[in-house]
Amino acid sequence: MSKTDDTKLIERCRSGDRQAFEALLVQYEKPVFNAAYRMLNSRDDARDVTQTVFLKAFENFDQFDPSRRFFSWIYRITLNESINWLGKTNRLEPLSFEAVDEGKGPEQELESARVSKEVQVALMTLKIDYRSVVILKHFLGCNYVEISQILEVPEKKVKSRLYTARQQLKDALTGNH
């Protein structure tokens, strides 16, 4: 969805237009849910966080800066809500590989599902800052500038976090943990 489309919908949302809000929801529910899921490693928690994210967005459209892209605003809310959720459930610290890995599934498990699970296990071993940058880059498709805006850190920091995160992920995925 283009920035212009988002801007028009947000204008309507500010007037309490539910149809406009539903159009934004249709567009962004999947990436928001996926970001929350990758942060939290739980579909149920991701569902609850996603609901909170959209309800907060609906109640706070007045605070949205129209010079920014909507996705950067809602992704920032998503990461913050996910971190709050991890804090509430005492899961802010990264987990050891063994603590997350629940063992291999049945042999007939689909290759894609196996890879997805392995990546998720590796992601959960990263610190929150590194996990966030990987999710924004690889699961939400944001570029350096966008990540920098969402996380409100300099672009240089984004690059260094991404590099460190990738090194750690590589180690986790190749068994050097």
């Binding site: 539903e22 894609s112 990546v119 690889h138």
Partner: protein, 253 residues
């Protein structure tokens, strides 16, 4: 020997497609001369390809419905009309419901045994029984947010009438039981909007509904004297309770 940060930055920028032509040429020159750099580039490229290939998770099927139902009216938004207002705002429905009410009244008179203050024992397939248009006030409301069942159930009141307003989506067939312990309350009608196919049966102190998919319907209860009461809801799938909730009605003092 460690690789200079300048080149690790270029390797990452290359993998991310955020590298200029000049930088790319510089990186190529470095990689031609440096085996360690080439190995790092290959490893990170492979890992990033794996990350990018991970399929997205589909959100739960009813999440959107739950979110839309959970929205609070904003200052600029008019409160959406209640079930009865929607029902009577549509001319075709208004006449259909009026006709159904007439049929229902006739059937009730013919079957004089039903004229007492007793619950109707079997109202399966009964649709569209209603009295006058009602300005019903919201007494209480609950949200249901299970994975395979979502929506809201509201209790509205208007004089001696209580209205249970169901707005639900169920992935598979579910049974809904509404218990009202006060035996002076009795079933007084049923109507559905936007859908058909809801089965209902009533007995003293309890109604049962069977439904699947998206359904919106209202159950009318007669509450003589507008007494304070509680309606206990149970949602069952395959005979097992998947959700429970209570709705309270407290008359205004």
């Amino acid at each position: 020997m460690a690789i200079e940060q300048k080149y690790t930055d270029l390797i990452n920028a290359d993998i991310d497609g955020e590298i200029s032509a000049a930088e790319k040429a510089e990186l190529r020159e470095f990689l031609d001369e440096n085996a360690e750099g080439r190995a790092l580039h290959d490893e990170l490229s492979s890992m990033c390809a794996t990350l990018n290939a991970v399929e997205s998770e589909d959100p739960p099927p009813h999440m959107r419905h739950v979110i839309m139902n959970s929205l609070q009216p904003t200052r600029k938004e008019k409160e959406s009309p209640g079930f009865m207002q929607v029902l009577f705002a549509t001319p075709a429905l208004k006449y259909a419901v009026t006709f159904a009410a007439g049929v229902f009244l006739t059937l009730s008179i013919v079957n004089s045994s039903q004229l007492s203050n007793q619950a109707f024992d079997d109202v399966t397939d009964l649709v569209g029984t209603v009295s006058d248009p009602i300005e019903a006030k919201l007494a209480s409301s609950v949200s249901v947010t299970e994975l395979d069942l979502a929506g809201t159930v509201s209790l509205r009141s208007a004089g001696s009438m209580l209205i249970l307003d169901f707005d639900l989506v169920a992935k598979d067939h579910i049974e809904v039981e509404a218990d009202y312990s006060d035996r002076t309350i009795w079933f007084n009608g049923f109507a559905q909007l936007e859908s058909g196919g809801t089965a209902i049966s009533a007995e003293t102190g309890r109604i049962r509904l069977g439904m699947e998919g998206k359904r919106r319907y209202a159950v009318y209860l007669h509450n003589e004297g507008g007494r304070e009461t509680t309606v206990n809801l149970r949602f069952l799938a395959d005979g097992k309770v998947v959700h429970e909730a209570s709705l309270d009605y407290t008359p205004a003092r």
